[in-house]
Assembly symmetry: C2
DNA sequence: CTTCTATGTGTCGGCCACCGTAATACCTTC
DNA sequence: GAAGGTATTACGGTGGCCGACACATAGAAG
């Protein structure tokens, strides 16, 4: 799990950082906090949950039985909390680096600054 | 290529947003802008470059021959520029969502702020 | 001279997270 | 009783990344 988190996994941890949720609730919460851009598939969700529990980033909070069906709630472990914080910091640095370069690029492409703009032709 | 970019690919585009670079220069540039956390392997680098050129996000800028060996420079295409900008925005939203939830969490765990901290119990 | 390290590009096999889909099961609504 | 939302589980496929290797040149170290 030292691999950088992919987006679905990152969003699962982010959703669980707010409150314990069960699988189907996670699908809706992730859709909500990504403005509908990310829709978790069952294969992604439960596969990720198994991995995260196995890695100790997520714990099983409790299990309820509603209408004869099992409903398992997951919550973020302290390790998961720290991992999410570290991962967020890493992403923040990447975003800042990319933003800085894109900004320089916009300046170079738009010679609105009169100084030394049109070198050639 | 509608899959969200993984970290190595994202950093390659970010590096190319600064200036055209050849393969080995990319390895060093990515290492620099990630503070040494990401070291591109040849398999990752050239595989990614082939994909990016094929997808139209990266163009071959020019080819030089130094000491009898080919040195190929790559640069970011307009499509790659737009993709990197969109990807950066997506990451920024994810970072903000995670940061907000982590902050709420820290407040809940540490009721050090006397005002309206412990709502329950 | 040989060996090691750095520069530099390229290929191949394998892993694993994610995806797509279907199956299962209960309840409510039409 | 067919349809649709809730909820979990299982399985095969795809694709990006990694690890290791191959090849070539040049300078430093032994």
């Amino acid at each position: 799990m030292d691999t950088p988190l992919r987006e679905p996994t990152f969003l699962i941890l982010t959703a669980l950082a707010g409150a314990p949720l069960h699988g189907y609730g996670l699908i809706r919460e992730v859709a909500a906090l990504s403005d509908g851009r990310v829709t978790l598939r069952p294969g992604t969700l439960y596969g990720a949950l198994d991995r995260l529990v196995d890695a100790g980033l997520v714990d099983v909070d409790r299990e309820e039985v509603v209408d004869g069906r099992l409903r398992r709630y997951y919550c973020l472990s302290p390790v998961g909390d720290a991992t999410l914080a570290a991962e967020t910091e890493r992403l923040r640095r990447n975003v800042e680096a990319a933003t800085a370069r894109l900004r320089e690029r916009a300046h170079a492409a738009r010679p609105a600054t009169p100084r030394a703009a049109g070198g050639l032709a």
